[in-house]
């Protein structure tokens, strides 16, 4: 049935492939010559596997604004955020500030923690006591749509 469904996909139906799908052998077993390709079949590239390391801890967020353009994060980009990663200096993080999710680069100065924007028209945010800062997750990928 999966095969019948894939015929529908070119006319614009949303089709989700499960990551466990593997290609079927090209030839049937019963008669004739086996396909020379049978021994070389590998599973097709799966973006889920490539982009997501820890699926339970991975969430998608949508970018609004242009304060991070200097690091290649544009308005309307799709962010893949992994909460399982240990937060390190220099990471692009999702920080919860004043009840909202904000994208910033996490850096440290001598006494405090600085959330940096990557656009000269935006100010950095200086956090003095760690209590005020909640790092929600680390941004692993920014996916940018090129073709509308």
């Amino acid at each position: 049935m999966g095969n019948k469904l894939s015929i529908l996909s070119p006319i614009g139906l949303k089709l989700e492939r499960s990551s466990s799908e593997r290609p079927v052998f090209v030839s049937t077993i019963a008669a004739g010559f086996p396909s020379p390709a049978d021994d070389y079949i590998e599973s097709r590239i799966d973006l889920n596997e490539y982009l997501i390391q820890h699926k339970e801890a991975t969430f998608f967020l949508r970018v609004q604004g242009d304060s991070m353009t200097g690091l290649g994060i544009l308005n309307n980009d799709l962010l893949i955020v992994d909460r399982s990663l240990a937060v390190e200096e220099g990471n692009i993080v999702i920080a919860a500030i004043d009840g909202e999710f904000t994208v910033k680069q996490l850096t440290y100065s001598k006494k405090s923690c600085v959330l940096k924007a990557a656009n000269p028209s935006y100010k950095d945010i200086i956090i003095n006591s760690e209590n005020n800062l909640e790092v929600w997750g680390v941004v692993r990928w920014a996916i940018h749509r090129l073709w509308p």
């Binding site: 089709l15 339970e56 009840g99």
Partner: protein, 430 residues
């Protein structure tokens, strides 16, 4: 608890629905938050701040609405799509902490840690807590004991006694200390002890958990039932209720919902029961079962004392056991027509199946039309396949109605942050 052979953990999410909402809306932190049941009827989840205000679990929303507004409580309709996804994430993470897991409900599961005797379970429990909190942002408590009943009790303590920091291992407590601890807990906190049983126990002089633990199982079996005997044995560290790793098939399937607004026409009621029958049929097929009969009912709003009241239901026997949506729909429509009366404002309708037969037990009859049965099976399989892949309701019966004006009220439902790409949270770059 002299000989402790087993270690069972119960991991339970705190205020699960509220906590799920908080993960995606940091503005809710430390604010009083309530989640309402289907159709915005009753309070079904409360943040600690709301519990402190004294709003009770399960109260009808209209009764506490103005009080809640006065205290600036933030209210949401339930978003089961979100809760189910978060639950799946949590359960999958927990399954990595032990070999055998029983998912007991949407927000709690048992875990058999018996093989991990070398571990300090309090540390291990903390590790589970911190991991879940880091990976999905949800707070949980962990209770550990020699039986499921003790694990439940330990979890209750982990939740209620702040000093324990969310983890309680009853196996690690010395017998004397444990006795005095158990004597401070009321019997109603024991798994399976409801209000009625509690009153009866108190009459017998059994006031706290220690009393109950020291009671004779035989006496309790005579006074109550074998269930109570098991409870007492479990309280003494005997494992009587084993972990069920594969959930048993449901013996009864129900789909019943209140309407967003009262409806009186047969056509709208037909739409509603058609959708409910479709849901039930899907559940039947999911657990590979057949229905031999189906019950349909309609109700007016008993809270509106001034309205004329009418409640009725009809049981329809099916000629052959089936899980074909079409057959179940036509059955409930026949039933509905026979009980429907004009002139009433209906508030609720439902469909129920309680005689369920596994597909594998079905004996084909001499006069069965095999060909049409096979056609029915593949049609249903195709429908379920499409709806699973492309979202439920992609293909549906026209009888369910397109507008669904009667649909349940969910005025304050949050987005499906994790399951719908158009509803994912916004990350501000400002």
């Amino acid at each position: 608890m002299a000989l402790v052979d087993q270690s069972i953990a119960l991991v339970d999410c705190n205020n699960f629905y509220v906590s799920c909402e908080r993960v995606f809306n940091p503005a809710l932190k430390r604010k009083p938050v309530i989640v309402l049941s289907n159709n915005d009827g009753c309070v079904i989840a409360r943040s600690q701040e709301v519990k402190n205000l004294g709003i009770k679990m399960g109260v009808p929303w209209f009764k506490v609405k103005s009080f809640a507004k006065y205290h600036k409580v933030i209210v949401f309709s339930s978003n089961y799509t979100l809760y189910a996804d978060m639950s799946n994430r949590v359960m999958s993470i927990i399954s990595g902490f032990g070999p055998n897991q029983e998912v007991y409900s949407i927000d709690e599961c048992f875990l058999d840690l018996t093989g991990f005797k070398h571990l300090d379970f309090t540390d291990y429990g903390q590790h589970i807590r911190l991991t879940i909190n880091k990976l999905v942002g949800l707070p949980v408590c962990v209770g550990i004991g020699a039986s499921k009943t003790l694990a439940k009790l330990a979890n209750y303590l982990a939740k209620k006694r702040p000093g324990l920091n969310g983890v309680c291992d009853l196996n690690s407590i010395k017998p004397n200390t444990l006795d005095s601890l158990l004597s401070t807990i009321e019997v109603r906190e024991v798994w399976g002890v409801g209000k009625r049983i509690e009153q009866k126990l108190i009459k017998l002089g059994i006031n706290n958990v220690l009393d109950l633990r020291r009671s004779s199982p035989r006496m309790l079996r005579k006074q109550f039932s074998i269930v109570m005997e098991r409870t007492v044995r479990e309280l003494n560290g005997e494992l009587c209720i084993p972990l069920e790793e594969t959930p048993p098939s449901k013996k009864q399937l129900v789909c019943s919902r209140g309407f967003g607004k009262p409806i009186s026409s047969l056509s709208e009621l037909s739409e509603a029961v058609t959708s409910y029958a479709t849901r039930v049929a899907e559940k039947l097929r999911y657990q590979r079962s057949l229905a031999t009969m189906i019950y349909v009912f309609i109700q007016t709003n008993s809270f509106k004392k001034k309205d004329q009241q009418y409640n009725s239901g009809r049981l329809i026997h099916l000629t052959k056991p089936t899980n074909d949506s079409r057959k179940l729909i036509s059955a409930v429509l026949v039933g509905l027509k026979s009980i429907y009366k004009t002139g009433f404002f209906y508030k609720k309708a439902g469909v129920l199946i309680n005689d369920i037969l596994p597909v594998s037990n079905y004996q084909k009859g001499l006069f069965d039309d095999i060909e049409s049965q096979e056609k029915s099976e593949s049609l249903m399989k195709a429908m379920d396949g499409i709806n699973n892949k492309m979202g439920s309701g992609t293909i549906k019966f026209i009888g369910e109605g397109l507008e669904k004006n009667w649909g349940a009220k969910a005025e304050k439902k949050t987005p499906c942050y994790t399951t719908n790409i158009d509803e994912i949270p916004v990350a501000y770059c400002i």
